[in-house]
Amino acid sequence: MIPAGPSPAIDGDMLLPAPRRGLPSPTMQHPSPERSTPSRPAKVFEAIARNEPHVTETHLSLQGDDAVLEVEQFQLHYGAMHALHNISMRIPRGKVTALIGPSGCGKSTLLRSVNRMNDLIDNVRIGGSMRLNGDPIYAPGVDVIELRKRIGMVFQKPNPFPMSIFENVIYSLRIDGESDKRVLAQTCEESLRAAGLWEEVKDRLQDSALRLSGGQQQRLCIARAIAAEPEVLLLDEPCSALDPIATGRIEDLIEELKGEYSILMVTHNMQQASRTSDCTAFMYLGRLIEYGPTDDIFLQPHLRETEDYVTGRFG
């Protein structure tokens, strides 16, 4: 057996320390109350605790954007549990949108609702609607398989398939029955280049993908997701299982993919959200509390609760 876990010797991520960019860390530099005065006092959580409906505080500056994904009045129940309450948001095209919030607030559930991964779980009930480029996601008669081909997804833990690097990248083409070797090779190279992995693996495309390091595996999963040319890319805490250097590489990669792809990303890491995203949505107990441009959310949030969360005072 090959020893489990990434070995330092083959960890390509170690080779290039990633340059960091982004906003000053919000936990280092607290926005002063004078600069950003929340418009309302901190009563939202109490209202939620009383089970009163919450109206999302959506910043006006987002209204005009061209949306790739529209979520309207979205509800989700796991059996008796109400997991998502009335979520409405528009994910702008060509930008990175970060979902933040404490554990269990429904970020991942919302993300997995977009490509209907929650269908795999019994006892899930859905309300409201989602539209991908105008096409309904939850209308009856929607072909889920075809829908998922339009949406790329990268998971929390790298999940390469038990096959070669090459086969991993072109998986979505294989299941579509593509057999033209030129097309496959070209897609593989383009996707791996886009994921910044080409130089590291171009000589061993036929090796098992399971022998790559954790960071390389995650970039491979990104390459696999973008090989299908998705309309929106879902990232579910893509760096949570990675070390800081590998995390840096992934963040750079997200930065590079911005513009070409519309990205919706779940993250627990405030710095990551502030560094990489254009828009940020703060969720709490299944509600979307506040949604706005990242700079505003981190520096001038409208709500007191958002400010408390992004500055690390709670959560």
Binding site: M1, I2, P3, A4, G5, N115, M117, L120, I145, E146, L147, R148, K149, I151, G152, M153, F155, K157, P158, N159, P160, F161, P162, M163, Y171, S172, R174, I175, D176, D207, S208, A209, L210, R211, C221, R224, A225, A228
Partner: protein, 591 residues
């Protein structure tokens, strides 16, 4: 968790009370911690493993230590008893026993005196040996016991031969002359022995030719005749007894029959020729008690002067016997000769069984694990499958003979081979039915590990595949099955081991004491799944408990057991090697 919870040392109690109380508390803690540290459990579990290993190694030791020396040539001793009897043989067994007073009283006076002397000298024990004395055609026995006090004289005559024959077992005696095509060489001498070896080779070659004609050519003619008869019967069944088709077929059969008879006559003449040729090739032998015997050279499988052999000669005899064992057919009701048909039958049956059971079991496990909605019904099915593994194998044999042989096979016979009835084709035990019965028997052995392997495929891999837009079957085919393949191979290996060692059901569904023909041969369609076959496990049973010459068969039981174990090990090692390769390919690193 706090650090304290990981502290392996027992925490020292606060000395709140007096010193006596503190000590008592500490002692109590130490007692519990000894058990908690598991020292006794280490001994218990380790001891259980050690006992299991000891039992298994004892089994292997017995089988190997008795199985390997079977073919080693022993010296032939000639014994003259005080009673004046002379006989020769190989020592098969030595033991000592206590001679009772009644038995002692029954002995003649001189013998009794010698026995008493030995009893006194030898701790009230009498040593005795069992000699394989052979010469069954002259003496009517293969073995005889001789107690040491009866022995007046013991020698190892230089030219005492051990002769293995096609019939009547072994022969021990001193050669006096060799007759070969009218030439006579007196002996025993080196020159005569050299002549014998040449003559023997020629006589055997002639005999082989005769055997080949008898088995293959005459067999071919008989088969052609039988086919012509069947064609007549088919025509009769299809068109009626008075139909012109039947008459035509009959005419054709008669013409063919005349032709074949002509050919048969030619073959018969050739056989007579060869017989006559070999009739003049004989070895004249004198046994230890002075009787003369004539051994036709063609009947001698192997002969060697046992007491003249050096280490290398013995090794050569050993190798030649091993070769015969592995590559020849059995003779003398299986107690001599080889077991090649049994090896062939065992391997072929096991492979056909694996080919049948693995895909079938994997499909069933896939449905249970991937498609079936978990619930009481699925749980019940799973329990039933597990219980199937505990059903005695003879029950499967009874089912096999009732369902496969008589119902399915009988149906096939009336449908496909009506002209051969009433003699059955598929309607009796055979390779196919045996393989199917064992496939059924080993089905749970495949399903259970396969299901576990499927369940062990990480959920993240499946989700990744679904997220790429794969359907359920695409996910199973491209992700789940490759990833579960090593586990499926584990099931296949277990099934292989179970199936190769199974005997009881085979007795009912097709294994036979002696199969005339191998299930694979040069005649179309090459693989004959309806034929009965020989199986090593059944062969062991037959040797050990059905053999007329059980003393001679005993060492063969051990040797055949050793061979069966080796065969199962080889089949398993191959399967494990395949599994290791798959594992390297599909599970490069654990996630």
């Amino acid at each position: 968790m706090t650090e304290l919870e990981f502290d392996p040392k027992p925490r020292v109690a606060q000395p709140t009370a007096g010193p006596a109380r503190s000590v008592r508390r500490r002692d109590k803690r130490r007692a519990t911690s000894l058990f908690a540290h598991g020292e006794p459990m280490v001994w218990l579990t380790g001891g259980a493993l050690g006992l299991a290993l000891a039992m298994i190694s004892t089994l292997l030791f017995v089988v190997i230590s008795r199985g390997l020396p079977t073919f080693w040539p022993q010296p032939v001793v000639e014994i003259v008893t005080h009673g004046g009897e002379r006989f020769a043989g190989e020592v098969a067994l030595s033991e000592s026993f206590a001679l009772g007073p009644e038995a002692l009283a029954a002995l003649p006076e001189q013998a009794a005196a010698r026995a008493r002397a030995e009893l006194a000298a030898n701790d009230e024990q009498i040593a005795r040996r069992m000699l394989r004395s052979g010469n069954y055609d002259l003496t009517g026995t293969h073995f005889r016991w001789v107690s040491d006090f009866e022995v007046a004289e013991e020698s190892t005559p230089e030219w005492m031969l051990c002769v293995e024959r096609l019939e009547w077992g072994r022969f021990y005696g001193v050669p006096t002359a060799l007759e070969f095509d009218g030439r006579r060489t007196d002996g025993p001498s080196e020159q005569m022995w050299a002549e014998f070896e040449r003559a023997h080779a020629q006589a055997r070659a002639t005999w082989d030719e005769r055997r080949s004609i008898e088995e293959h050519d005459i067999g071919r003619l008989a088969k052609a005749k039988e086919e012509a008869r069947l064609a007549v019967r088919s025509a009769e069944l299809a068109h009626g007894a008075q139909s012109p088709e039947r008459a035509a077929a009959e005419r054709e059969a008669e013409a063919l029959s005349a032709e074949l008879d002509e050919e048969m006559r030619a073959l018969g003449e050739r056989i007579e020729e060869l017989k006559a040729l070999n009739a003049g090739r004989r070895l004249l032998v004198r046994t230890a008690d002075g009787a003369q015997a004539t051994l036709p050279l063609e009947q001698v499988v192997r002969a060697y002067p046992a007491n003249r052999l050096g280490a290398f000669d013995k090794l050569a005899v050993y190798a030649s016997r091993v070769e015969e064992f592995l590559l020849d057919s059995p003779r003398e009701s299986n107690s001599e000769g080889g077991v090649f048909p049994a090896i062939f039958g065992t391997v072929l049956m096991t492979l056909i069984m694996s080919v049948l059971v693995v895909p079938f079991g994997v499909l069933a496990a896939l449905y249970l694990r991937e498609y079936a909605r978990p619930g009481p019904l699925v749980s019940a099915v799973r329990i039933a499958i597990n219980n199937l593994a505990g059903v005695p194998s003879i029950v499967f044999g009874v089912f096999g003979v009732g369902f496969f042989c008589y119902t399915v096979g009988g149906g096939l016979d009336t449908w496909l081979f009506p002209e051969r009835l009433p003699s059955p084709t598929f309607g009796t035990g055979g390779l196919l039915w045996a393989s199917l019965t064992l496939a059924l028997l080993t089905l749970p052995v495949v399903i259970v590990p396969t299901e576990e392997a499927l369940a062990a495929v990480p959920r993240s891999m499946r989700e990744g595949s679904y997220a790429c837009g794969a359907t359920k079957w695409q996910t199973i085919w491209r992700i789940v099955l490759p990833r579960a393949m090593p586990g499926i191979m584990t099931g296949a290996i277990l099934a292989l081991a179970r199936g190769a060692g199974e005997v009881a059901p085979l007795m009912l569904v097709g294994a036979s004491k002696l199969a005339e023909e191998l299930p694979i041969d040069g005649a179309f369609p090459y693989l004959h799944p309806e034929r009965s076959f020989m199986h090593l496990g059944f062969h062991i049973y037959d040797l050990g408990f059905q053999s007329q010459n059980s003393e001679a068969a005993k060492p063969m039981v051990y040797t055949t057991t050793l061979l069966l174990i080796a065969l199962v090990v080889v089949l398993n090692v191959v399967a494990i090697w395949i599994r290791a390769r798959l594992r390297r390919r599909f599970q490069g690193a654990q996630l």
